[in-house]
């Protein structure tokens, strides 16, 4: 089998919607079987955490489809190369040294659901680095909330190559970011299949998925609450949540909830979180027990 060779230029990528468009255009160029892809970074001046997770994901997707993916490390600027060594990305795709401890939250890929590894990542490598001024109770609450996204990705996403994530700490802004993405069927596809409505737009499907009590699992137990809980937590605690799936885009933050249809398509689901690094922003649940739960 001869592989079709493609060289893709990776541009500068931050984590705003146009940056995700750039990533989704890269994905659309490698969404075929039997490709030999080289990623060239000559035009790239910066790669944010979402780009790192995404590039790792599409490299694995190319391999899953019988192709090969090669990153041309020689074309990297020194600052980007340092970051990719620090967050472990280069170590995953070459025999590079690293990672080391810096402001990057490591690049990770989970081919299958691994509770222990994911929880350790969230507790230790993401929140447990001393840069987030939160109590153990709040740390646990954030980890439980973010877990809902991993659970959704594995349970609903049906991603053949698993889930990918990477994060970054921004000390000047007191922000902590994390991007979690899968290359599965996407939330709109799950909702359309469940609702037997092919005409539902991606934005309407996303809005539906964030409603309380919705589920796309036909034999469910009233499941699918994760996104609703996540939304509530983000709005209450001055965080920000962005979800990209198919043409759908959801933006959730305090006082704002928007669902839009965009022009760029991505078949999987990308979730980008922003959390504050200080406990004073947070309001934890204070539910007391009562005797009539059911």
């Amino acid at each position: 089998m001869t592989l079709e060779r493609r060289i893709l230029a990776v541009p500068t990528i931050n984590d705003d919607p146009p940056d995700f468009d750039r990533l989704f255009r890269l994905w659309s160029q490698v969404n075929d079987d039997f490709l030999e892809v080289e990623f060239n970074f000559t035009r790239c001046r910066f790669l944010q955490h979402n780009a790192v997770a995404f590039l790792g994901g599409i490299a694995r997707l190319i391999e899953y489809r019988g192709g090969t993916a090669k990153f041309n490390w020689d074309t990297l600027q020194d600052n980007i190369q340092g970051n990719l060594i620090q967050n472990g990305f280069m170590g995953c795709f070459s025999e590079s040294r690293g990672p080391w401890v810096g402001n990057s939250i490591p690049y990770q890929e989970y081919p299958t659901k691994s509770k222990e590894n994911i929880i350790n990542y969230l507790k230790v490598k993401w929140l447990g680095r001393g840069w987030v001024n939160v109590s153990q109770g709040l740390c646990n609450a954030i980890v439980g909330t973010v877990w809902e996204i991993y659970e959704n990705a594995f349970e609903h996403g049906i991603s053949p190559i698993g889930v990918f994530c990477c994060g970054q700490h921004y000390p000047q802004l007191h922000l902590l970011k994390l991007c979690v993405l899968d290359f599965g069927v996407g939330i709109p596809s799950s909702v359309r299949w469940f609702k037997k409505k092919e005409t539902v737009s991606a934005s309407v499907a996303l809005r539906w998925a964030f409603r309380p009590g919705t589920t796309t699992k036909p034999n469910g137990m009233g499941r699918g609450m994760g996104l609703d809980l996540l939304k509530e937590f983000i709005k209450l605690n001055q965080g920000e949540l962005e979800v990209y799936s198919h043409e759908g885009y959801a933006l959730i933050r305090e006082g704002q909830e928007r669902y839009l249809d965009r022009s760029t398509f991505f078949e999987g689901t990308a979730v980008n979180f922003t959390f504050k690094c200080d406990e004073s922003y947070y309001h934890l649940a204070s539910e007391e027990h009562n005797d009539n739960l059911f």
Binding site: K115, G137, G144, E151, G222, L284, A285, L293
Partner: protein, 115 residues
């Protein structure tokens, strides 16, 4: 029956599989009319899939009044309690209200019509 959830599951009660473990232990006892006490001391992280599997699906087999009478939950932290309450609220709708799905369908249709 008394279950030490931390011993059975560990620090984190978050997955469907772990919830199913709890469910499989308590369902026969509850069906037999025996009280069940679950102690969550030492468990830190909670997520809805665990509670859905452990408790949400109990309403498929037993009425809520029986579950309220037979189940005792100890040392569940406020965040966990908040998630559990939402899960049960959702599950009650799912199992008891045959119109629920039709309402959700209607809402979806309205949203689609309004763009």
């Amino acid at each position: 029956m008394k279950i030490d959830v931390h011993t059975l599951i560990g620090d984190d009660c978050i997955t469907l599989d772990d919830g199913q473990k709890v469910h499989d232990q308590i369902l026969p006892e509850l069906k037999a009319g025996h009280p069940v006490e679950l102690d969550f001391e030492g468990v830190g992280v909670f997520a809805s899939p665990f509670f859905n599997a452990a408790f949400g699906q109990l309403l498929k087999d037993l009425p809520g009044d029986d579950l309220n009478r037979l189940i005792t939950i100890d040392n569940l932290n406020p965040v966990g309690m908040s998630v559990l309450k939402r899960v049960i609220e959702n599950s009650k709708k799912y199992y008891s209200d045959p119109k629920y799905r039709r309402i959700v369908n209607k809402v979806l249709d309205e949203q689609a019509a309004n763009g």
